[in-house]
């Protein structure tokens, strides 16, 4: 009996020993990804270097970095849903100048499961802004609402900024500027500076000490030319008393009605207004020097040449201001069919344009805005807006204004 007992006890412990040595190392399920990257077709003399590509698995936030000598990348990654970002140092010719910059692509959701997956990405010139970011221009209503009689009514133009992050941000210190150039111009500017600066004709700045104008995640900050209830003057318009801020122009003869209850933006450089057909564009960012220093050191003195019936005319000099490309957080390139001949800033600021109306004089544009698309909605209802530095794809043209109810 005792022998049997000892045998059983030994058996138990031998089994125990067997179990404890069982230490298998299985491999994670992986997928072979072939990524084809397309370069922009409208960049002249484009020369690309190696692609640095990062795959971020969205379930785990784990990152996998790769390099690709060509525009096709093969990568072995664990199964998952990936955001893929790529960057490449490039040179291209822009307005006769050789630009050294970066190409960039981002694709937000790529399902990578199974043995092999083929993916594609389109690249675009990368913005040079290197600040903290987070705000985007959500909407520009530049056409005016139009009257019941079909006339133009420009008193109710507005611009909406949006906190596209999951953290509260402060709008204090943000600037908005309208481009000095418009897209219908065929003028040749001397000196040409678009590879480094955005020439602007008006700048406003949101005041505050850095904590005065918080914007919660997924919320907007509305700037209006006249923050009054425009329904009273125009039945087709809307109530802009909901605006967070007004902008005023000192030299405007017919000032729009002022709402004393809505604070005014700082007018850094008069004259700030959007173009009624969108031929000038709006940029947004932060002035990275003092306002006084900016006004002193960032003057753009230029002249322009144009040719009419074979005769060349030169005009100037003119004075405006210029904003370094790397200060620009976001821009909305606007124009209209038939008038989009000339750039108003470098493609690294914004690659493509969006619009209201089908031609320059089209009154159908009245009451339409350009609105940024929603890329995703978080489970708590916060919308993430699309921002690929290409307004042609990021914006809904001819959109119904968000404030029209």
């Amino acid at each position: 009996m005792k022998t049997k007992l000892l045998t059983l006890i030994l058996l138990v412990f031998c089994t125990t020993g067997f179990f404890s040595c069982n230490d298998d190392d299985e491999e994670v399920k992986t997928t072979e990804v072939t990524l084809s990257i397309t370069n922009p077709t409208d960049l002249e003399d484009l020369e690309v270097d190696k692609w640095a590509v990062t795959f971020t698995e969205r379930n785990t936030n784990k990152k996998y970095a790769f390099e690709a000598e060509s525009n096709t990348l093969s990568a072995l990654v664990p199964e998952g849903d990936y955001e893929i970002v790529g960057e490449n140092s490039v040179t291209y010719t822009f307005l006769g100048n050789t630009i050294s910059g970066k190409l960039y692509f981002i694709t937000k959701s790529n399902i990578v499961v199974g043995e092999a997956v083929e993916l594609a990405a389109s690249s675009f010139p990368k913005s040079e802004y290197e600040g903290e970011g987070g705000f985007v221009i959500e909407e520009i209503f530049y056409t005016g609402s139009g009257t019941p009689e079909g006339k133009s009514y420009l008193g109710d133009i507005y611009i909406k900024l949006y906190n596209n992050t999951d953290q509260p941000l402060y709008a204090d210190g943000l600037f908005l500027a309208t481009t000095q150039r418009n897209t219908s111009s065929s003028n040749v500017y001397i000196p040409e500076i678009l590879d480094k600066y955005v020439p602007v004709s008006g700048i406003i700045i949101i005041p505050g000490d850095g904590t005065k104008y918080p914007v919660q995640p997924g919320k907007s900050f509305i700037l209006a030319a006249s923050a009054v209830n425009h329904k009273e003057a125009n039945g087709n318009s809307f109530d802009l008393t909901v605006a967070d801020m007004e902008w005023r122009n000192e030299h405007l003869v017919n000032q729009p009605a002022n709402n004393p209850n809505v604070p005014d933006a700082i007018l850094l450089y008069d004259f700030f207004t959007t173009h009624h057909a969108g031929l000038s564009s709006v940029i947004m960012g932060r002035i990275e020097v003092s306002q006084a220093e900016f006004l002193e050191q960032y003057i753009y003195e230029y002249s322009w040449k144009m040719v009419v019936n074979g005769v060349e005319y030169e005009r100037g000099p003119f004075l405006d201001y210029k904003i370094p490309n790397e200060w620009v957080m976001d821009a909305v390139y606007t124009s209209v069919e038939g008038e989009a001949d000339a750039p108003v800033f470098a493609p690294s600021i914004d690659m493509g344009w969006t619009y209201c109306g089908s031609s320059f004089g089209d009154t159908e544009r009245y009451g339409k805005s350009v609105r940024r698309k929603v890329e995703a909605t978080t489970t708590d209802g916060r919308e993430i807006l699309q921002d690929t530095n290409n307004s042609a794809v990021d914006f809904i043209p001819n959109a119904t204004p968000s404030l029209a109810k």
């Binding site: 059983l8 125990t16 069982n22 399920k29 969205r58 379930n59 785990t60 995703a376 489970t379 708590d380």
Partner: protein, 505 residues
Amino acid sequence: MIKDFRFIFILFLVSIASHAQDSVPVTDRLYRNLSPVVRFSSATTYNPGAKVYTLQPDLSDLGIVYEKQTGDAGLTQTGTAFDDYVLKAESYARKGKHHLWGKASYAKTHTDNIKWNESSDYYTIYPYVFADSTGGDNLTGERYDFMGGYAQNRGQIAWGISLDYRALMEYRSVDPRPNNNTSNLVFHTGLNRKISGKYAVGGGFFLRKYKQANAIEFSNSLGRKSSLHHMTGLGSDAFLFANNETASLFNGKGYGANVQLLPINGNDVSATLAWEHFSCEKQLNINQNLGLSSIDEGKYIAEITYLKQTGKHTLGAKAEATYTDRRGTEGKFTKNENNEYVKISSETQYKNQRTDASLTFIYQHRDSKTSWHTMPCISYYNTNESHKATSRRMNVCRMGLGIQQGMAHAIKKHLIDVEANLGYVQNLSKRVELTGLAEEKGIFKFLMHDYDYLSSNAFSAGLSVRFDYALPQRGIAVYIKGIWNYRKYKKADSDFLGAQLGAAF
């Protein structure tokens, strides 16, 4: 609702406790019941039909218990300190071929030093707990346990059933505020047949249903400093759902079977081989309960006990081993065009293979009034924990030596029972790889705390003293019991004090 529940519960306690009556003096029954020989084999844990072969005397116990543990030894996610009040009743009665037993208890608990876990029942659902980065003290709980069993001895055949239900509510009144409700229902049954004058063979199975609703709220959402995480093991978490899904549901089920060799008179060889399976899915309260992860656990248990009683001497040995293989499967998700999460793949990422084994010897000398026993034990523990996607692992292997000495003495209406124990745990091997975790992160520190706790050499000592006094003519003894236990690890220690006041009859 809770008050009604408590009322029904107290009625249940009293009815169970008042059931058992016996003509044998209560001190004699207590003297027999306190013997470690009675509980040496755990065969009845698996097979309620085995209850008919036990040496357990008829006895009922109604008591109130206070327990308090302080110190920082323990797993961070379970908390290392607590104080509990428990009202409990248990009873065992035998009448002819019928055996009836039951237990019920109500506990009010407070647990402190919990971090990186706001779910309840950690050992049931790990590693997929819901956690916040703050954690804290004073997790308040109310626990209700009910267990009832019946066994019948029909000569050649014996059978039994038991039903065990536990409900637990846990919450905290300051941020972060978990609000957890759990329920656990287990049904056991077993059937035995005599094969000789000394032995029976038996077998049984069990079914289990487990549920937990687990939510975290913050009353001060603006000032919230905690981040919320659905943990996936060894410090990893489901990043996609961090901070935005604050409610989860655990839905589990289990089953198992066992075979046994049972000595009919409680002595000689008893052997149990058992297999248990438990699976539990963690669901998020979105998309009609999205299945985020699941665990699958297989447990293999072997126990062999030998007891030999000769006159006043009882000699015995018990070898038991449990191998547990827990696997965790995690889903990966994307969002469809309706903004709903859709599972795109799932894979086993987490593994915990654990072996617990022990060899215990017992010698008891017992006469009609005085008994003493010595119970040396050697134990072995090995755990291999790994998370595949993050390439993290934690392996610990240790061995323990312990001894328990006990003495019981009955004098007329009095009974005194004293037990003392000493133990030492020696680490045999250890390895930890926490790939990708920065040392300054709080989560790294909690994992290292757990690793130190599991892998450290440790010393333990304990003492319990119980004094019973039989009331005249009523067959009732009132008792008071005190317990002290101390554990000392390299970087942590733990002090446990318990006091119990009750009546046995």
